[in-house]
């Protein structure tokens, strides 16, 4: 039995002794994280951590309180249990308390690699070296990280599950010049550190940086665009958090209209922890098995993700997407796959008379969740396309654009055949997506404002 499950069982027993009538949910994470960070082409920060965190939600007469601790000795756990129960008794009654998840099997997935959880700093440094070495004369910056561990969940309704997962990411840039004025980006994420190819990433980022060395200014306006996976991943993260989230829907803040064709028919978006490429475990923070969901099928919005609280309000069942803090934020899908198409990015570019190729978005912030109007900037490689070819680099542009409108019926010219995990706002290894060719994007500002 894993240490995580042992600790979870122990806390559940302690709650049962202290308050036999209380409902309790115990979630334990036990693992290792490490990150090797580099800038100016050398490693300057190199960190590691061993962490075991216990989260307890206890409910007394429909009054719930949540606590967490890293103090996992007997004294710390006793304090956790006593404090949680005392807090629960003091809070106002919760009319929306949905009760506990019952015992249920979880999907049989294995997204764990022991070598990744226990990777030595020398292994990450080797990947960093391979990246840096491909950028002779350039300034490299970024990180390579590795993490892994066990999650366990038990509750007083009989649910008792555990699972392991791991993840590794290389996310880095090469830059031109001492003023960091142009950069190119590479990103790779996998459940296995061994899958990361520092040399390939370094070559790609270095080429982009060199191609970006002498950017010109371009007048803002509406342009046809080719958006690489980092851009698409950012868009999908916002659609998930603010849209395909049942809490936002209940509150009237989501754009999602279930059953309606809100997107181009080329868009099919699923959340599926059973996909062999996925990262994470197969149950959520409430112990509910993660259900594979078609969020969008052929452009039609078909589902939103639920935790137990939103499911009760909408008279349905949890989809297994509860997250820490979900009482306030709602549920969130962590295994999002946008179906790839059959067009190569090169063919997309070849089909465009005048447009832009964008590597990555930066600092995106939503102006209104219901319209999904977001402002942000381009970063790490923005290029103008003329007569089917990349004609040169341009300085970063600001955009103010509705992400829903950008993907609306008829707005997508092509879907790429290059799907992979993309770096995105809410974490790595969450969104897997290809390059998209869109009919129009609203750039509202340039280097001069």
């Amino acid at each position: 039995m894993s240490r995580a499950l042992e600790v979870a069982d122990k806390v559940l027993e302690m709650v049962a002794r202290a308050a036999p009538a209380a409902d309790a949910e115990v979630a334990v994470s036990d693992g290792h994280t490490a990150l090797t960070r580099f800038a100016n082409s050398f490693i300057h920060q190199n960190v590691g951590e061993a962490d075991l965190t216990v989260m307890l939600r206890a409910t007394v007469d429909g009054r719930a309180a949540s606590s967490s601790t890293t103090a996992v000795g007997d004294e710390g756990l006793e304090r956790l249990v006593a404090g949680t129960l005392a807090a629960a008794r003091l809070r106002p009654e919760d009319p929306d308390w949905p009760g506990l998840a019952g015992a249920a099997p979880v999907p049989d997935v294995d997204h764990y690699d022991e070598a990744t959880e226990f990777a030595e700093p020398a292994e990450r440094a080797g990947i960093v070296k391979a990246f840096v070495d491909r950028g002779e004369g350039l300034l490299a910056a970024g990180y390579c990280d590795s993490e892994g561990g066990t999650r366990a969940f038990v509750n007083s309704a009989g649910q008792r599950v555990s699972g392991r997962s791991s993840r590794a990411t290389l996310d880095a840039i090469h830059q031109v010049g001492e003023t960091f004025h142009a950069a190119g980006k590479a990103h790779a994420t996998s459940s296995r550190l061994a899958d990361l190819d520092g040399s390939a990433g370094g070559a790609r980022a270095a080429q982009k940086a060199r191609d970006s060395a002498e950017p010109t200014e371009l007048e803002p306006g509406r342009y046809e665009v080719v958006l690489e996976p980092e851009c698409v991943g950012e868009m999908l993260s916002f659609l998930m958090f603010y849209g395909f989230n049942a809490k936002q829907l209940i509150e009237g803040q989501s754009f999602v209209a279930l059953g309606e064709r809100q997107f181009d028919e080329s868009i099919t978006l699923v959340d599926d922890v059973t996909d062999p490429r996925a990262i994470g475990t197969a149950f959520d923070m409430e112990g509910t098995p993660k259900r594979s969901l078609d969020l969008v099928r052929g452009g039609v919005s078909e589902a939103v993700v639920h935790d137990r609280r939103t499911a009760k309000k909408m008279d349905t069942e949890s989809t297994g997407h509860a997250i820490p803090g979900g009482e306030s934020w709602g549920a969130f899908p962590e295994n999002v796959f946008l179906a790839a198409g059959d067009t190569s990015p090169a063919d997309m570019i070849a089909s465009i008379d005048r447009g832009l190729l964008v590597t990555e978005f930066n600092y995106c912030r939503i102006l209104d969740p219901k319209t999904q109007v977001v402002t942000g900037l381009t970063r790490n490689g923005t290029f103008v396309i003329e007569n089917g070819k990349v004609a040169g680099a341009i300085k970063n542009l600001r955009f103010t654009q509705s992400f829903v409108d950008a993907l609306a019926p008829g707005a997508i010219r092509a879907v790429g055949n290059d799907a992979r995990f993309a770096a995105a706002e809410f974490g790595m290894g969450i969104v897997h997506c290809p390059t998209l060719h869109l009919a129009s994007w609203n750039f509202t500002g340039g280097a001069r404002g």
């Binding site: 050398f42 490693i43 920060q45 951590e49 960093v128 009237g252 319209t371 109007v373």
Partner: protein, 479 residues
């Protein structure tokens, strides 16, 4: 706990580190939030552990453990040194540390009422009552209220002889009302968006008088749904002080972080448009722009006694009469740049590597007040309370949205406008600053969620600000 930090440092030095320091910390957090009269979240969190960093060659190695035994702390120190040594595969010039005073000291946040002495029942009653008052206004769909309080004990030990214990208490919160229309939502918040926080006890939360402001906030949210759109154009804008604070945070605070200027944050947070060779000569803004980074301000969220390198809190001039004169720095970055260390390095808990963070970066007040500023404006928009914020990776090109605006015509506030946004380039924008509120309107705004670093760290920062006027600004950018 101090002996754990000592053991960790010893472990690192014995394993070959040239320098090592450690923080042994216990942090307790309480938070309560309500939506529409229902307490959605009630959390009590405790984290405790030791984080040790070891310097070897050009790299910091860092390791954190929650095992509170001296043997585990010592092993963590050795592991930190081992991690630092592995960086030699991709090494740079050896890193040195600027000299600082070696202190053995105690420091504690002054407070009147410890936040954990107030019962959870009272806290729950407060957030529920505030949302009830907001919900009583017809048209309010979502009424939220949240409070959060932290209590941190931190023991710092370095291989150079630092021995410092600090007890830091922080409190704050906020509320917002959202009205939902056919095609958009409108929100009003108080005291500022995402809450306002400070160092101190529960007296901070009582001082907000959230119940007394709930009805006004709710009414404004509803009114925004039918207000006209903020017009597009180039006009003078007057910013309410919490929006000025956000403007400072994004377009000054991050830009002056020395680690960003040196490229250490290039891949994630970004770099800066500033060049250290231009300190003392570069124009950042107009003559009335005076910015300080002052970690000694009583009650402000970025205040402390010593930073996480043991350097005493200090007040540093950043912009003086419009000229850039200072940076935010730590011992390593200051040594590289040949500047004095500013005592501005902090880590987000025991398990994160300390890095350059804002303290209280804010404006020195001017000599006007908000009424006078509006009276002196012929044609403009008064904007209040941040709703969206975005700025490029060099901290130049920004676009901010506010929750609410009011037209200014001939020196008087006119009709309310919705979706006010403004955009610009940092130094051009600050050069257009021509009126500032005075000391009576000076608020030490607190931001509890400043993100930076990898793994991501969230810092607590303060931003003294007053209302301010900026000339000829582009407003009303639409999607």
């Amino acid at each position: 706990m101090e002996e754990l930090a000592e053991a960790a440092v010893e472990g690192a030095i014995d394993a070959g580190a040239g320098y090592a320091d450690a923080r042994a910390m216990v942090t307790r957090t309480e938070s309560v939030d309500a939506l529409n009269q229902v307490v959605e979240g009630l959390r009590i969190d405790e984290s405790s552990g030791v984080g040790v960093r070891a310097l070897i060659g050009s790299s910091w190695g860092f390791f954190a453990t929650q095992d509170l035994t001296t043997s585990a702390a010592r092993a963590a120190g050795a592991r930190a040194a081992e991690i630092a040594r592995a960086s030699a595969t991709v090494s740079g010039a050896p890193m040195t540390l600027a000299d600082v005073p070696i202190n053995q000291a105690e420091w504690a946040t002054p407070y009147t009422e410890h936040p954990f002495d107030v019962s959870l029942a009272e806290k729950g009653d407060l957030v529920v009552a505030v949302t009830r008052t907001m919900q009583e206004v017809a048209g309010v769909a979502l009424a939220r209220c949240e409070i959060t309080m932290w209590d941190t004990d931190k023991y710092f030990v370095s291989s150079q002889g630092h021995r410092i214990h600090q007890h830091i208490v922080e409190s704050g919160g906020g509320m917002d009302a959202t009205a939902v229309g056919e095609s958009e939502t409108q929100r009003r918040s108080y005291p500022q968006s995402f809450g306002h926080y400070g160092t101190g006890g529960y007296e901070i939360i009582r001082g907000f008088d959230m119940p007394g402001n709930a009805q006004r906030v709710a009414e404004e949210a509803v009114a925004l749904l039918t207000a006209p759109e903020c017009p597009e154009g180039v006009v003078d804008i007057v910013l309410e002080s919490s929006q000025v604070a956000l403007q400072i945070h994004e377009s000054v605070g991050h830009a002056i972080e020395l680690d960003r200027i040196l490229g250490w944050e290039a891949a994630f947070a970004g770099t800066s448009w500033l060049d250290v060779n231009k300190i003392g000569s570069l124009r950042y803004g107009s003559d009335i722009m005076n910015i300080k980074a002052d970690a000694t301000l009583p009650g402000s969220l970025g205040s402390f006694g010593y930073d996480d390198e043991g350097t005493p809190a200090q007040s540093v001039d950043i912009v003086k009469e419009g000229t850039w004169v200072g940076v935010l720095s730590g011992r390593d970055s200051a040594a590289v740049a040949g500047l004095p260390p500013g005592g501005m390095v902090r880590g987000d808990g025991y398990n994160r590597l300390p890095m350059v963070r804002m303290t209280n970066v804010g404006l020195v007040p001017g000599d006007s007040n908000l009424d006078e500023i509006i009276a002196a404006t012929d044609d403009g928009v008064y904007m209040a309370t941040n709703r969206s914020w975005s700025i490029d990776d060099k901290r130049l090109n920004f676009q901010f949205g506010c929750e609410v605006g009011w037209e200014i015509k001939n020196g008087k506030l006119g009709r309310m406008v919705r979706n006010p946004t403004y955009t610009g380039i940092g130094p051009e924008f600050w050069a257009s600053l021509d009126m500032l509120g005075n000391e009576s309107e000076w608020v030490f705004w607190g931001v509890p969620n400043c993100g930076k670093g990898q793994p991501i760290q969230s810092a607590h920062t303060g931003h003294p600000a007053v209302p301010a006027r900026f000339r000829n600004v582009r407003v009303g950018v639409k999607g």
